[in-house]
């Protein structure tokens, strides 16, 4: 149940400085047991050259959001039930498959968690990059091959002349991720979507890859949408962040606001569950229970069964971030619930400062 009767929806393309404008996206899956509302009314924008992180636990809809933007969903069982996805002035959901292929090559590129599954094992690295480049530019095979070598060099792979002739299995995980990044970059995208780009990698290799993404994002001025469940990666890589829970965005704002003064009880719970230096010797916070069953969503607030702050309106009314004021958190602690004149809180509790470690330089 939402409290406003009708929202003023945006009509037509967004302002010119907005690169990506996702409006009320709903992506559903028809499975045997019923309907999974994997993404259930998600809206956000990314301006040109800006960075947005999307965080949340497994299954909350992060990948489905990005696959919807790329239009790489399996349909069926998937279905984009409603919404608009404006990228650089056109609504991607109105494009033909051919037009969409153009967009994927030229305007937006994606890096996946497991590069091995997105690289073809039977072709050399060079063939695959060349193929991608030829598809999306008017370059000749020869030029494209040189471009492949060039982009491998750009992502820090030494001796690229030799590497282009190798197969994916001959490379380490970090190296394969670099190849993926090289492929993504070979078409100079305006938007780079990275879905857990370092989750499968060791921390020292993760540090290399994040450094690389940051450097490239800086130099090419492309926008970045970074999906991760690692709040540390978010803190270091992006300016803005959206927290997802059960198919919805429940909180958004700058990294400084959300990670230092989390408003939503779920965000706060996530942050206090992470072990950090100060917590040694004390119990870790626990978000009790588990994520809701998609076929049996709780009444009222989705998070209510797990929320330590739940109060009367939570079991009856569903808080939506679109209806919230200020529009940064979907929670009745901050927006007056129906029938109430005020909300209990204005701001989130500030977290204590302090690094986790170390003897390393800060």
């Amino acid at each position: 149940m939402t409290l406003t009767v009708e929202r003023a929806t945006n009509v037509g393309p967004p302002a010119a400085d907005v690169l990506l404008d996702v409006r009320d996206l709903r992506t559903y899956f028809h499975v045997m047991d019923g309907l999974v509302k994997a993404v259930d009314g998600v809206s956000f924008t990314i301006k040109r050259g800006e960075t947005l992180g999307i965080v949340g636990e497994s299954g909350c809809g992060k990948s489905v959001t990005s696959l919807s933007i790329m239009r790489l969903l399996d349909i069926p069982p998937g279905e984009i039930a409603s919404g608009e996805i404006w990228l650089d002035g056109q609504d991607l959901l109105t494009l033909s498959p051919e037009e969409m292929r153009e967009v994927r090559g030229n305007d937006v590129a994606m890096i996946f968690q497991e590069p091995m599954t997105s690289l073809n094992p039977v072709f050399t690295v060079g063939d695959q990059i060349t193929e991608a480049v030829v598809q999306h530019t008017r370059m000749s095979k020869k030029e494209a091959w040189n471009k492949a070598i060039e982009s491998l060099r750009l992502v820090g792979i030494s001796n690229p002349e030799r590497r282009v002739k190798q197969y994916p299995h001959e490379l380490s995980g970090g190296m394969r991720q670099r190849v993926m990044i090289a492929m993504a970059l070979s078409c100079d995208p305006k938007l780079l979507i990275a879905d857990e780009p370092t989750t499968a990698l060791d921390v020292t290799i993760q540090a290399q890859i994040l450094e690389l993404i940051r450097k490239i994002q800086d130099e090419t001025d492309s926008a970045l949408m970074l999906i991760t469940h690692d709040l540390g990666v978010v803190a270091e890589m992006v300016e803005d962040v959206a927290v997802m829970y059960a198919g919805r965005i429940v909180e958004r704002g700058t990294v400084e606001d959300v990670l230092v003064r989390p408003k939503h009880p779920y965000t706060e719970g996530l942050l206090t569950s992470i072990p950090s230096k100060g917590m040694r010797g004390s119990r870790l916070n626990v978000i009790k229970g588990t994520v809701p069953n998609p076929f049996n969503m709780p009444k009222g607030c989705n998070f209510a069964p797990r929320c330590p702050y739940r109060f009367e309106p939570c079991g009856a009314y569903d808080p939506r971030i679109e209806d919230a004021h200020p529009p940064d958190v979907a929670c009745w602690l901050y927006t007056p619930a129906p029938g109430q004149t005020s909300a209990p809180r204005q701001s989130g509790p500030e977290r204590q400062a302090g690094p986790m470690t170390t003897g390393a330089p800060t």
């Binding site: 820090g156 921390v203 540390g232 569950s273 588990t290 690094p355 330089p361 800060t362």
Partner: protein, 382 residues
């Protein structure tokens, strides 16, 4: 489902049982010169053409009641070390003892008894449980295999009661015994894996990445639970993980592994506040901090981990070492294998680096002139 706090516990005063850990320094597990190679087979006849030196001359001790954390990058030999210790793999060389009894010499009935005392909890809560067995059998199977007159585990009733007790101990309901693994969430499955290991009443438990596959909110439940259970059942853990914050939270001692070797070992506070091996320094600096007010400078390491089939000469870390570079590439890093030696003032802080004493100054100098390094593969020709 109740949370971990519901686990029965006699003494709640110190919830994490830190005091228990410092149990008068009695050694429970002692490992000396442990080596584990895996053969590499090749050619038409599948003859042995080399070795993966997964664990290569490792020595350490774990005190009774302590959590001994083991960190290091993928493939450095952490799981191999844990599995070899509890006799899931035969060692290539070296000795180890549990409570004074030699581990690798045991045969037959003695080996069976020893196996009961050393258990393992695996990373993958899905893959490690047989999907066709109800939970009662998953946990009961091990009990049956270890049945003896004294414990009475051969009796179905005794077993079922014990299964129920341990489901409760890990915060699950007794009647879950009838259910099958697919009916549980990832965190609940991990609890079942823990109940299975603990039902056998072990002394020593290898926790091999027990929370790596779990979301943070579930991860914290399991970490709390492991600390509760350690206290309740007098357990000693070898805790393997690549998440450095998790290891810092749970461990008393920490060892850092690199390419089959322990390169640094110390008390947890010491290791995290005054790392003395350049690899440890780099590892710690690479952990992204969720507090945006903290801005770390990175010592980004060059290249990938070399293959354990052909580890570099001299110091195994020399192909990626920022300190060596900082010191003008001294020759002995390439020629001499540094021993794990005691350094500085703190007893038990051991480091395998010729220049460990220069690390702290070098970190400061280096930080001043930090350049992100993104060259990928200096050390990868195998």
């Amino acid at each position: 489902m109740s949370d971990a706090t519901a686990a029965p516990s006699a003494t709640k005063a110190d919830p994490t049982g830190r005091d228990y850990g410092s149990s008068n320094g009695q050694v429970l597990l002692k490992v000396d010169g442990l080596v584990k190679y895996y053969p590499i087979l090749g050619g038409l006849l599948r003859r042995k053409i080399g070795d993966v030196r997964a664990v290569d001359d490792v020595s350490f001790e774990i005190n009774r009641g302590e959590v001994f954390g083991l960190v290091g990058e993928s493939g450095c030999g952490k799981s191999t070390l844990g599995k070899t210790l509890i006799r899931l793999h035969p060692p290539t060389a070296g000795t180890a003892s549990l409570d004074g009894e030699p581990i690798f010499e045991k045969r037959g009935k003695d080996l069976k008894r020893l196996r009961r005392r050393m258990q393992i909890i695996f990373q993958d809560p899905v893959g490690s449980l047989n999907p066709r067995m109800p939970v009662s059998d998953i946990i009961g199977e091990g009990l049956l295999a270890q049945a003896e007159k004294e414990n009475g585990w051969g009796d179905r009733k005794v077993r079922d009661k014990r299964v129920g007790d341990f489901l409760e101990a890990v915060g699950l309901r007794r009647d879950y015994a009838r259910r099958y693994p697919h009916e549980f969430s990832g965190g609940q499955r991990q609890r079942i894996g823990i109940a299975r290991a603990l039902a056998l009443d072990p002394q020593f438990v290898v926790c091999d990445e027990p929370v790596s596959a779990l979301d943070v909110s579930i991860q914290s439940q399991i970490l709390n639970l492991l600390l509760d259970l350690r206290r309740e059942f007098n357990l000693t853990y070898l805790f393997v993980a690549h998440n450095l914050s998790v290891v810092q939270y749970i461990s008393d001692q920490v060892a850092v592994m690199y390419l089959g070797r322990i390169v640094e070992v110390a008390d947890v506070q010491r290791l995290y506040s005054e790392p003395r091996h350049p690899y440890t320094v780099a590892l710690l600096s690479a952990v992204p901090d969720p507090d945006p007010r903290v801005r770390k400078k990175r010592l980004v390491l060059k290249g990938d981990v070399p293959s354990p089939a052909a580890p570099p000469s001299g110091c195994r870390f020399h192909t990626r070492c920022w300190l060596r570079e900082h010191l003008g590439n001294p020759e002995n890093c390439v020629t001499d294998d540094p021993a794990l030696r005691e350094i500085g003032t703190a007893a038990g802080h051991r480091v395998a680096c010729h220049y460990a004493e220069r690390v702290s100054d070098a970190v400061v100098e280096r930080a001043a002139a930090l350049q992100p390094a993104i060259v990928a593969d200096v050390a990868e020709e195998v």
